[in-house]
Point group: C2
Chain length 149, copies 2
């Protein structure tokens, strides 16, 4: 597949938010307010072929926790799954994070997302949890962490 | 009131997320995942008296949009409302943002939040909207913006 991966732009928000609920099969748009594209687009990534959105990675380099990169949200279109696209976006994000001085990268997921746990393990992340009440009362999360340097 | 306003720390998350639904009178914790405290605590503020949480401001200086500061979430305990505490936290955030080179600050709110619109107008913000679908399909938002320098 001739898929391009490029830095995101603020105006990519519309295309992303239009597909997230479909790609996940459950309501997810609430976790992705526009602020992430407006203020962290330079560290986020878009995967596309002929202008068609095939994937995205929303991430940033922490402002307050020196040397930590964080991946907030990653999605791949159902038709593009199993092609290594998520891994390619992660590796692109890792490289840019290292160049910016980051030494660790973290991410979280819902305990129900076993595919995400397997994916992060395969990429060398440690897996912690489920951590009870991680994102508020009753909102348990699995925490992933990986060294970069 | 002898209220202290200080920079936030990551561990303030638990106290904040425990009260937000109460303070708003509707479910809000979903808009405040832990990542905001972990990665933007240095630009966020806590108001407290004798260790009791009376208010908080979650904000950051944009990583990708130079010179823009953003206020994501602000809350004041019902018992502390009408005391000027929100204004004091905003002004503290403005000063720190200016020192960090920011020239504008923005925020958003739900169209139902008329108190927020009045508050931001009083602080000199321009008011735009409701902007349809601002944060995804069917999620309209009012947008506030203010010059800092």
């Amino acid at each position: 597949m001739n898929v391009q991966v490029r830095p995101a732009r603020p105006e990519d928000y519309e295309a992303i938010v239009a597909v997230v609920d479909d790609w996940w099969g459950r309501p997810m748009a609430g976790m992705l307010p526009r602020l992430f594209l407006d203020h962290f687009h330079a560290t986020s990534l878009i995967a596309e072929r002929d202008g068609e959105l095939l994937g995205f990675l929303i991430g940033f380099h922490s402002a307050s926790a020196p040397h930590r990169a964080y991946i907030h949200f990653v999605g791949v279109a159902p038709a593009a799954r199993g092609t290594g696209l998520a891994r390619r976006m992660y590796e692109t994000f890792f490289e840019a994070s290292i160049q910016d001085g980051c030494t660790t990268v973290s991410a979280i997921t819902s305990p129900m997302n076993t595919a995400s746990v397997a994916f992060h393990k395969a990429l060398g992340f440690t897996v912690t949890g489920p951590v009870p009440d991680y994102d508020g009362p009753g909102v348990d999360r699995i925490v992933f962490e990986r060294q970069l340097a």
